[in-house]
Symmetry: C2
Subunit: 457 residues, 2 copies
């Protein structure tokens, strides 16, 4: 069949064609991402400083700006084979519905129980923790996708997994919590009485529903004060983009196999884990001058770090205990208005992607929530898959780009990342169906508050 | 690659290897399933009688005991390509955990938004309705998997879809309801004021939570009293087993491609749609004397139609408006105690499977709910996938069979059907985690009540 090169609806690579290495975009970047700084001294964080919080191998990956191809350990490749390769799908039905001359492909990462691409980095981080002989890891989770992925990876490897889940999500998303418990994780509503910072916050704000920033602080405190534990994070970090490059590498291998050339690549962007992974090998070609692609980051209008933030050093967490990173940010105490894409509510953006964006190698657009859900529903009805709200940001812009082609007659080939499924987001879909969904766009004055508090570096 | 015959973790057929025909076990059965009878006259239902309720092409399939291979229309094959082939997966990790010499495979049908195999028949039934020029279809749904699948199929074909959802599920499973609404279906809590039978029931039992039997009666009434509508059903019927044969045909093609020979085939059984589909081509070989397989139906101890029911004519619905079918049954007014596998709570069993079971061509076991969830959790932790409670009945027995092999040293090759995912069943998982799940096993006296009311034919 392969010799005929007939393009199937869904392209699955053979196991033997799956990537053997992750690809590190930093190796090909002329302007490297700025180093993380110690929040006290404003000096670059050393490997030694970082290794109190993160596993040793992951610290090395975090700081490695030079190695282009990092071998994926055999054990991780075995785990990948349980749910990968993910399919590269031609959206024939969507194209027909839009009556567009554009060809639309999506790389679908939702066919695993965590429901998203998060598992690609969760298994890697859990593997290195296990390799280091640790007992377990700690992390925070908001909507719950990252926590679920990490629970699955830890269950597989027999590692303990402590998840601090933002209290309001813990109470409102009991199903996500139960999935994590099914995988043996302990899930604590944050803020909790288990940590000093939790107790301090509860004293100051009794009855608070918590925040991601607080949960990060608790998870970090728990890791550094527990023998045999380290902290892990599901986005933003360089190491996470490295692991997620498996998405783009598979997409490129599948496209190359059938002679498909993409013109435009679109991904949603919260902390950047999906977008950074999807674009990795394509951006690599672009950085090396081998090919050109239009690369578009899509963010919610309610949390527009690329399109309305500043490129500056800022704290990665609200509690200001984590290192400073140079990134597009809205300020570490920016609280986005409630929107239903929990994975896109982070105040900052991956330092790697921030540098690439600042260097003009990619563009960004922000989209309104109701427009996103309209695209999500249209997509679900013709392509079958019920998309996550996060992923639907990319669907929105893919549809918009395809409609532009309809006007101009261009036959662009578009790739977008379909990061996950929306089974746990039906409350948001319900609001949309009932006409109760609102669009939140912060005013310039509101954004100015967070931006005025950036640390002086 | 194919020439090397290295067996991958997950076997995906090429599109060109996907089945072109469904397989109809009845053609090879010496003892055909008994015909459905008119509930008034006790005469076999004619095509004409049936075509007031069902689409014409589906009536023909329902009554056709002779044609072995039925071509799958091109349009349905196109739709299948959107979410099929489903993978045949080797459960390496589960085998290792059990330390069994058995080889365990599962055919995973959960990688589509309806979350189960139900879509295989939903698209077929919607296709024939569309082909007949109908406006839409009506159906009932309990837990919601069938309703979701039908909504997806109707959205794709532009058909109207009216779902009567058991009121208690409508209220307790708002997420399922919203998925159906996302696909444009109208979802009505049953009993409703929309139908005569609904109004009658509401008058007699104000505030009732409804039942599947009542929802069936409302859906049938709506279909026969609405211009351009027919009724569709997701299990039990001969036509449904025909459509679901795609599961077994793919499994067999994938196994044949890599030289895998199954000894034991295991599936959960409610109305029989999954089991009948999974075993179809293997049972065909057995019926033709070409090969032998041990085939095991697994049912919940709380609703044991095969293991404790009678093989007799009975009503398919509680309202006694549907035809009589000869099947293993617990009596049409048997109400199973609450168990969390909504898809396995039907009082009867597919007439085809009932005949095969009665002829000694397959065996059946019943399992307790807590044992099922223990197996589900063990499976999730090592294989990644969060299984539906229904599917977990098959997991339980696959594990038990593999553990027997560990004792005897036999190297059996086991195939089981993993029909779907458990994302919408976390309330049940939560009860299990919290030690609040109970096992219900009806007493002989309780069963005798339903069995004493079988119609005299």
């Amino acid at each position: 069949m392969a010799t005929e090169k007939k393009i199937p609806y869904k392209i699955y690579l053979e196991e033997s064609e799956m990537p053997q290495n992750w690809y590190n975009m930093r190796a090909d970047m002329k302007n490297k991402p700025a180093p993380m700084l110690n929040p006290g001294t404003h000096e670059p964080m050393t490997a030694e400083e970082l290794s109190g919080v993160f596993c040793a191998d992951l610290v090395a990956q975090e700081l490695d700006n030079d190695t282009a191809f990092v071998p994926i350990p055999e054990e991780i490749r075995s785990f990948y084979k349980m749910y990968r390769p993910s399919p590269l799908v031609r959206a024939y039905c969507l194209e027909e519905k839009l009556q567009t001359p554009a060809k639309i492909y999506y790389k679908f990462e939702g066919n695993n129980t965590s429901g998203s691409h998060k598992l690609n980095s969760a298994i890697a981080q859990a593997y290195y923790a296990k390799k280091q002989g640790l007992k377990g890891v700690t992390t925070e989770t908001g909507a719950g996708q990252w926590g679920t992925a990490l629970s699955m990876a830890c269950a597989y490897l027999g590692l303990d997994c402590k998840v601090y889940m933002v209290k309001v999500s813990y109470e409102q998303k009991p199903f996500r919590r139960e999935v994590m418990r099914t995988y043996g994780a302990s899930v604590t509503p944050s803020p909790s009485m288990e940590t000093e910072i939790g107790r301090k916050i509860l004293e100051a704000h009794p009855g608070t529903g918590g925040s991601l920033g607080c949960a990060i602080s608790e998870a970090v405190e728990k890791a550094v004060t527990s023998e045999g534990y380290r902290y892990v994070l599901g986005s933003v970090l360089n190491q996470v983009l490295l692991h997620q490059s498996v998405i783009g590498l598979e997409a490129k291998a599948a496209a190359d196999k059938y002679g498909i050339k993409f013109d435009t690549i679109i991904g949603c962007a919260g902390g950047g884990s999906n977008l950074g992974g999807l674009i990795a090998p394509f951006m690599g070609q672009k950085l090396r001058g081998e090919a050109d692609y239009e690369i578009i980051a899509v963010e919610p209008a309610s949390c527009p770090s690329f399109t309305r933030g500043k490129f500056a050093y800022d704290f990665c967490d609200t509690g200001m205990v984590c290192p400073l990173a140079k990134m597009y940010t809205l300020g570490s105490d920016f609280i986005p208005a409630p929107n239903h894409a929990g994975g896109l509510r982070y105040h900052g953006m991956s330092p790697v992607l921030s540098q690439l964006y600042d260097d003009g190698l990619m563009s960004a657009v922000s989209v309104k929530q109701t427009d996103v859900f309209q695209a999500a529903e249209a997509f679900a009805r013709c392509e079958g898959i019920l998309p996550a709200p996060e992923s639907s940001h990319a669907i929105r812009v893919a549809i918009d780009e395809a409609l532009k082609c309809k006007e101009t007659g261009e036959e662009k080939t578009i790739l977008f990342g379909l990061t996950g499924t929306g089974y746990f987001d039906m409350v948001a879909y319900e609001k949309f169906h009932d006409g109760l969904m609102e669009d939140y766009i912060p005013t310039d004055e509101e954004l100015a508050i967070g931006l005025s508090k950036l640390p002086q570096v």
